[in-house]
């Protein structure tokens, strides 16, 4: 029983982080139809920027985190303006290849600045063990869940009530109509990339604090975005949240209950990915697209 609770909590904690990263992916896809293979690298950049502000410059960590997040947003906007803007109107496959290339470039840049060896990172989230129903969980994991929920709350309010958020929903729904409403699609795309970079950075910062270190491999979390968004539905924001948590749980249970030498924890999310594609390719909450050719 304790094992179940323990695995569930750490699964949800990881899942909340996956959900944050997936959310940015969905946002970009919904508003601009771009499948961003560099989402994991945005997470990596967020983590390294925090390493820079907190560890290297030595800022008090809340300030360092805020500055890192703002810088991450700037990076997101720059990527959109410099890399994706010129690709408007190009076939989807070209755009996908460019984002794959972008992911390599970003990893190389980070490697050039901070090196490729793992760096010890500040663990600003308290790690005191907390006892929940007999199971022991690190405080940092609970805080990760809490912070992720807080961010989802803020984003939900943003989409429901802010004119910028409503404009994003409008662009996702019908670009031509959005234009005729006086909505600047370019501006919406820039905001989508900024938010995607911020949520990914938040995920990266949480992971860095939980691991107590940062290295280029942190970007591999980006791969888990695919099982998450395929399960939840490529174009569904609630789907990203639910999918993230389910994938986090599946990973935790498969890793905890199946023989560890099989490494099932890492494989199972991708088995789920294949199964979902076979059974329900549009995911749990995705839109069933009918394309007539």
């Amino acid at each position: 029983m304790e094992k179940l609770i323990q695995l569930s909590l750490s699964g949800i904690a990881n899942g909340a982080i996956y959900a944050l990263v997936a959310l940015g992916f969905v946002l970009i896809f919904k508003s601009s139809d771009v499948i961003n293979f560099a989402q994991g690298e945005l997470l990596m950049i967020g983590a390294y920027l925090t390493y820079m502000t907190v560890q290297q410059i030595g800022l008090f960590w809340p300030i360092g985190v805020v500055i890192a997040v703002i810088l991450a947003a700037v990076v997101g906007v720059l990527i959109e303006q410099l890399v994706l803007r010129p690709l408007i109107g190009e076939p989807a496959i070209s755009v996908i290849m460019v984002t794959i290339g972008l992911s390599s470039v970003l990893r190389a840049i980070v490697g050039a600045i901070w090196g490729i060896t793992p760096l010890p990172a500040p663990q600003f989230l308290p790690r005191d063990p907390v006892n929940i129903l007999g199971a022991t969980v690190g405080m940092d994991k609970l805080l990760a869940i809490g912070l992720a929920l807080l961010l989802f709350g803020i984003l939900t309010v943003f989409f429901r009530t802010s004119s910028e958020g409503i404009a994003m929903r409008a662009v996702a729904d019908d670009q031509q109509a959005a234009l005729s409403m006086g909505i600047s699609i370019k501006r919406v795309w820039a905001v989508a990339w900024a938010i995607a970079a911020v949520t990914a950075a938040a995920g990266g910062i949480l992971l860095m604090s939980i691991f107590g270190g940062v290295s280029g491999t942190i970007a591999h979390v980006g791969l888990l975005v695919f099982p998450v968004v395929i399960l939840g539905g490529l174009d569904s924001i609630p789907g990203a949240v639910v999918g993230g948590i389910i994938i986090g749980l599946i990973e935790a249970f498969a890793g905890g209950y199946l023989p560890p030498e099989l490494g099932m924890g890492h494989v199972t999310p991708f088995i789920v990915l294949v199964l979902i594609l076979l059974v329900r390719p549009y995911g749990l909450f995705g839109q069933k697209l009918i394309e007539r050719v």
Partner: protein, 265 residues
């Protein structure tokens, strides 16, 4: 040319001068020149493929004509992005409905208010203070549209679930919520039964009379066009072949030829 009240014509609100538009080798519009006068209903008619929707798309900025000028209240429109043109006070509806299908009727209409909203990423997230006052003003504008178009009963419905006729009406409402000074309507009555058409014609007249909005209308139903419009522009093969009051246009031999075909003897 006179408006419905017989008053003499004021200065043109929109001047369209020598508009030429080609797609590759296909000439969609050439040398289109006419004026649109404030608070009138301006119809654009013509056979299929005559270039009516292209003309509308040039005005709203979706197409960039290679030749000519369009001036709206003294401002040049050519080269401006569609969203900038919308912000100048030009709203439109589309031939094939372009609504935000996953949102409710009220949300669609609220999006019509987007041009008048100031809140940015940060202030928009804060829901109180000036933001709230602004919100209330926008809600009021939306309520007026709902009353005018008699869509109280469907306000909370998701647009995708509505009938075709009602969707057309919501699309008109969304354009109206922008409080435009010029309203472009691309076949607002296409595919409607006669009762729905009658309603739509009544709404268009109400908008014109109560809000003094200038309306540019593409429509195939000649009965409606001749009944409600002040001026009619007739296009054929991308050229303006006639312009005038409904009575003048009806009597124009070129128009009769375009619609009924030339008799070859």
């Amino acid at each position: 040319m006179a408006d419905r009240n017989g008053a003499s014509m004021p200065e043109a609100q929109m001047q369209i001068e020598g508009i030429g538009l080609s797609f590759g080798g296909v000439r969609a519009l050439s040398g289109i020149t006419f004026n649109i006068y404030p608070s009138t209903i301006q119809a654009i008619i013509g056979p299929n493929g005559a270039g009516k929707t292209s003309m509308l798309n040039c005005i709203s900025g979706l197409y960039k004509p290679q030749q000519g000028q369009i001036r709206f209240e003294g401002q040049n429109l050519i080269g401006r992005a569609p969203h900038e043109i919308a912000r100048l006070g030009i709203a439109r509806s589309f031939q094939n409905i372009e609504l935000f299908r996953h949102m409710t009727v009220v949300d669609n209409l609220m999006l019509g208010r987007h041009v008048h909203m100031r809140g940015g990423v940060l202030t928009g997230g804060l829901y109180w203070g000036p933001g709230q006052r602004e919100e209330i003003a926008h809600r009021e504008a939306v309520e007026q549209v709902i009353d005018l178009l008699e869509i109280q009963s469907i306000r909370k419905k998701t647009v995708g679930s509505l009938s075709y006729g009602l969707q057309k009406r919501v699309e008109l409402g969304r354009a109206l919520a922008m409080h435009p000074r010029l309203l472009l309507l691309d076949e607002p009555m296409a595919g409607m039964n006669s009762e729905e058409k009658e309603d739509m014609a009544r709404f268009i007249l109400d908008i014109s009379e109560e809000q003094r909005t200038t309306i540019v209308l593409i429509e195939h139903d000649m009965g409606v066009v001749m009944d409600i419009s002040d001026n009619v522009a007739v296009l054929e093969f991308g050229q303006l072949i006639a312009y005038g009051t409904p009575a003048e246009v009806k009597a124009n031999p070129a128009v009769i030829a375009a619609y009924l075909g030339q008799e070859h003897s």
